[in-house]
């Protein structure tokens, strides 16, 4: 089913929060890293994988999830974390490595854990798939409501864990949905050079589960397909594999010169920016006023600014705290 106006607005706002958040992170990340780009320098050191362009995958899916549902994401987690309702302040603080961060700075941008909303992510390709089906199994055994969604990139669909977890999820009819964000690239390797089939939804047949493909990074179509898959899982009818054609508007990580990327590709994608597309829909189909949307923008910016200042102002952990938390 199509999203209601409220659902569209929720998706719009979350896409904006994600986009503003990453635009801000992008600026701050470069602090201390110019002129010479040194990943170790600045207020946000380490790798930084931005997700702008991929917001529809996050909001279209998470619009159907409760805090009690489980999401495992990837090394490119911000948009999904935001849509899943991860505490933005604590997430920002974690990305800055501050003691107020979700994990007190132990995890950073690739290891966002928020137990309150059952969100986690990790830095190893396809690594979240096992925990996702395990959480789904846990809910099934406990007869506790809950659907698990595992996000992965199209590059991850060629990793062994993909095969093993889809087979097990189907075999045990687990309440889980696998969402592939196909942004056409695995770092510098194109889907064409990594994948023996044009679309990964085809692979669902290898596990006797439904496979769905959604072209054009279409927020509303994602919402609809995800809604069906999640409802199906909730009903106990088993897993679904969804592949979404989405857009990577940035480099693989910050600092990526993208020499491997065809000229004009990114510019072309920018003209199809999913946030503008949804905005158009809100104005034309939902007859919203520019003013109302400006309000949403303002709130989105505010909550991003608050999160960032919270992160900036928070203290760094004491070095010796590194020893705490290995075991409980």
């Amino acid at each position: 089913m199509q999203p209601t106006r409220e659902q569209k607005l929720w998706m719009y706002e979350n896409m904006l929060v994600s986009r503003f958040f990453e635009e801000t992170i992008e600026k701050i990340y470069l602090e201390g890293k110019t002129p010479a780009f040194n990943m170790a320098a600045g207020p946000i050191p380490g790798e930084m994988h931005l997700s702008n362009g991929q917001e529809p995958c996050a909001v279209g899916v998470c619009a159907h999830l409760k805090a009690t549902d489980i999401v495992t994401a990837t090394h490119r987690p911000h948009h999904i974390a935001i849509a899943k309702g991860v505490d933005l302040k604590k997430m920002a603080a974690e990305i800055f490595g501050k003691t107020t961060g979700l994990s007190g700075g132990r995890g950073g941008h690739m290891h966002i854990f928020d137990a309150n909303v059952n969100f986690s992510c990790s830095g190893i390709i396809a690594q979240g798939m096992g925990p996702a089906i395990g959480a789904a199994l846990s809910r099934k055994m406990q007869k506790r409501d809950g659907v698990a969604v595992a996000f992965l990139g199209e590059g991850a669909a060629n990793q062994g864990a993909f095969h093993e977890t889809l087979n097990l999820a189907s075999l045990w009819k687990l309440p889980v949905v696998f969402v592939i964000e196909d942004n056409a690239w695995g770092i510098s390797v194109s889907k064409l050079d990594s994948t023996s089939v044009p679309r990964n939804d085809i692979r669902a047949q290898a596990y006797g589960m439904p496979g769905v493909f959604i072209p054009n990074n279409d927020t509303l179509a994602i919402f609809e397909a995800a809604g069906e898959a999640i409802a199906r899982a909730r009903k106990g009818d088993g897993p679904t594999l969804i592949e979404i054609e989405t857009y990577r508007l940035a480099g693989h990580f910050m600092g990526d010169a993208e020499g491997y990327r065809p000229k004009g590709e990114v510019e072309g994608l920018r003209t199809k920016d999913p946030i503008l597309v949804l905005k158009k829909n809100l104005l034309e189909k939902e007859k919203m006023k520019e003013g109302d949307l400006v309000k949403i923008e303002t709130t989105a910016r505010q909550c991003v600014d608050e999160a960032i200042s919270f992160a900036r102002e928070s203290a760094y952990p004491a070095p010796e705290e590194a020893m705490i938390g290995v075991f409980v």
Partner: protein, 340 residues
């Protein structure tokens, strides 16, 4: 373990199964996953009887998909369950180590201690029965080296039960490495010393506490699993020559009870480490280093290791038996030491 009258002697296999079933009765979050652990009762017998009592839902045979079901155990553990999963042979760790060391072992830390991973990974170790180079390894050092998981290596049924109970009740991930030669499965031969009296009721043995299984004054023999029994046999031999050997069973490699080892070596002044895992960059080196970095003066002679040579494990009996640690090798290690 003093053995009383009308005692109940169990094999390690049965002791493990008993500990698991007792925990499953009192804690419905506990369940078992692995290959051939249901109807077959585990290739090494440590889940025998569980399917009949608890049924298919809690005793789950899996496909040959270690990455999937160990990764799944991590997710289930963090969602309120307490999985006990089996990696049939430790030799197979290579197909699923990411789920073990990067996920199971690190999620607690990555989450700042907010997400726990209370699970037990059981896996069989050890050779001596000609199963060749992909089914006979111990790999103790490989697991003990990587942070975030506790590592248990029992040498007898009493410890096997108490350590399993502690492992299941522990809120941290625990790797439970049992030695095939000590399982008490007839078809794998049987080390009598591993079959001991085991109380009916559930009990815990704290993780991180070594045990002195024989006291002595002239040399300290440190080992785990099969190494403990070889150490005890060597101690008997040495006793005949009037040499008094102390034998320490580490029981867990992580946490490692360094105080216990050092205290004994301070007394005896001599150290022999017995290790069926590969010689270099492993357990034997760590034990020796742990002693000398604390107090080098405590040693009267160079410490010795009786470990597996740095070679893949050969199939042919004469070659494999020659390469394995043994009581004889421990005795000659002592001779080398005093000749020194």
């Amino acid at each position: 373990m003093t053995t009383q009258a009308n005692e109940r002697r169990l094999t390690i296999a049965r002791a493990m199964a008993e500990a698991i079933s007792q925990e499953m009765r009192t804690d419905e979050r506990v369940f078992v996953m692995g290959e051939d652990i249901a109807q077959l009762g585990g290739v090494f017998g440590n889940t025998r009887g569980l399917l009949d009592e608890f049924g298919k839902e809690r005793i789950r045979d899996t496909p040959i998909s270690e990455t999937a079901f160990i990764g799944a155990a991590v997710g289930a553990a963090s969602d309120g369950m307490r999985p006990v999963v089996e990696l049939m042979f430790v030799d197979f760790f290579g197909v699923c180590m990411d789920a073990i060391y990067n996920l199971m072992a690190k999620n607690t830390y990555f989450s700042g201690g907010k997400v726990t991973v209370p699970m037990v990974l059981m896996t069989s170790t050890g050779g001596g029965y000609s199963d060749a180079g992909q089914h006979s390894q111990c790999l103790y050092g490989t697991f003990a080296h990587l942070p975030g998981m506790k590592v248990i290596v029992p040498s007898n049924a009493y410890d096997a039960k108490g350590l399993m109970t502690s492992a299941i009740r522990d809120d941290n991930p625990v790797v439970y490495m049992f030695h095939k030669g000590l399982q008490g499965m007839g078809w794998l031969g049987t080390e009598k010393g591993a079959i001991v009296n085991v109380p009916e009721e559930a009990y815990e043995i704290p993780l991180g506490k070594a045990a002195t299984v024989r006291t002595g004054t002239d040399v300290t023999i440190v080992g785990v699993a099969m190494g403990v029994h070889q150490g005890l046999k060597a101690a008997d031999e040495l006793a005949k020559r009037g040499v008094s050997a102390e034998v320490i069973d580490l029981r867990t490699l992580v946490p490692l009870d360094r105080d216990h080892i050092c205290e004994s070596v301070r007394k005896t002044g001599r150290l022999i480490v017995v290790d069926e895992d590969y010689n270099s960059y492993g357990v034997s080196g760590e034990i020796i280093a742990s002693v000398v970095e604390r107090d080098i003066s405590s040693l009267k002679a160079p410490p010795q290791r009786v470990a597996y040579p740095d070679i893949p494990i050969p199939f042919s009996r004469p070659m494999e038996q020659w390469a394995l640690p043994s009581a004889e090798k421990i005795v000659s290690a002592y001779d080398r030491m005093v000749k020194h």
